[in-house]
Symmetry: C2
């Protein structure tokens, strides 16, 4: 029981974990106590055997003849994902997208706290978003020294993204969540997660134009 994870786990596996957890959370809300890999297969769209193998990378969370305890497995996956702690986040670029993410994190993602927001636009500097005052981007580095964050979120234009990334790298940030429609270079050891909406939309266009509804992104 519990957390072996010796060898490196493939990213394919890791990217399925949040979905498992999301579905387990819904089951918890519904009061479901136990679930089999077969039932989880129907809910997730992955094969039962893949689900079992994925989970077994980390430990034997199930019980033969019984299945998985919903609440227990939900907790275990949370631990694996590192959700048993709090992440402080800074949003850079406070346009609609930055604000959307601030709202989202504030209201729906416990464990992820937006602690500071930055922009260059004088019209935005000073205003308060969910109780966080937007600060001048030129002060970001000193602000991050006083109030360090774990995650920097880039919601700027393409042109500013690399500059922001550089400053975040100097600011002792551990991970960057990049929404700017460009690739950025980050320092050694930095965790980078890109959300390339443009690529996603182009992929959607491919499937539409080829009449190929290969569902599930």
């Amino acid at each position: 029981m519990g957390m072996k994870a010796n060898g490196k786990i493939s990213t394919a596996v890791i990217r399925r974990l949040p979905k498992y957890r999301r579905i387990l959370q819904e089951l918890m809300v519904k009061g479901v106590e136990r679930i089999s890999s077969n039932e989880l297969s129907a809910l997730t769209g992955f094969t039962a055997s893949q689900i079992r193998q994925d989970l077994n990378n980390f430990g034997g969370f199930g019980q033969q003849g019984y299945g998985y305890n919903v609440e227990g497995l939900h907790g275990q996956i949370g631990n694996i994902l590192g959700l048993d702690r709090e992440y402080r986040m800074a949003i850079v670029g406070c346009g609609n997208l930055g604000q959307a993410i601030a709202n989202y994190a504030t209201y729906y993602k416990t464990g992820f706290v937006v602690t500071s927001m930055f922009d260059v636009n004088p019209k935005l500097i000073g205003i308060s978003i969910n109780g966080i005052e937007v600060q001048d981007y030129s002060e970001m580095q000193s602000c991050l020294e006083k109030n360090p964050v774990d995650i920097g979120i880039i919601c700027t234009t393409k042109g500013s993204a690399q500059d922001v990334a550089d400053k975040l790298c100097n600011g002792n940030v551990k991970g960057i969540w990049n929404f700017a429609p460009t690739d950025i270079n980050v320092c050694e050891g930095m965790v980078l997660e890109n959300v390339h909406l443009s690529d996603s939309l182009n992929t959607l266009a491919y499937f539409i134009s080829h009449n190929d509804p290969r569902n599930e992104a």
Copy 2:
């Protein structure tokens, strides 16, 4: 030369195409005329051989001893992705996220046109976003009959997402771009592209908490 694509191409390949095209576009802007798979490898992070194999799924776009013509390849990938036509899009849910996407599509994505926007919030209905008036969600179905769209974009809360998806399915939409943090069921033949920000953030947390900077999402 040009567009074989007989057998089904794996989604892994398709999801790399937008990045190739994005980088080729930047090269075009810089005035670069030709490029080798090796140089593309350095720019994309994929191996040169993988790039050659990816492109060869669709045809021999390169020339031995010379490489690829930047503008030509950019155009070919555009054609493969189905970007040689226009896509009409409707945004459902006009909060910050919906507005962010409206702005983004309007200013940066030629070929993708936002033609209508819908919301249930009386404070938003009637206002104009980039010249598009936000309409009452209850009128969406009749609006889509008069002015059909190719793509429906779901920017609502989790709770409303399935209802929106159902109505889009009845509205002759070809593809759904889903930003709601939940899985939705769509009708047969519908193309679905999910952008699960929650899953993306949880994945980022995994790599941070495991000190595993396996760069590139």
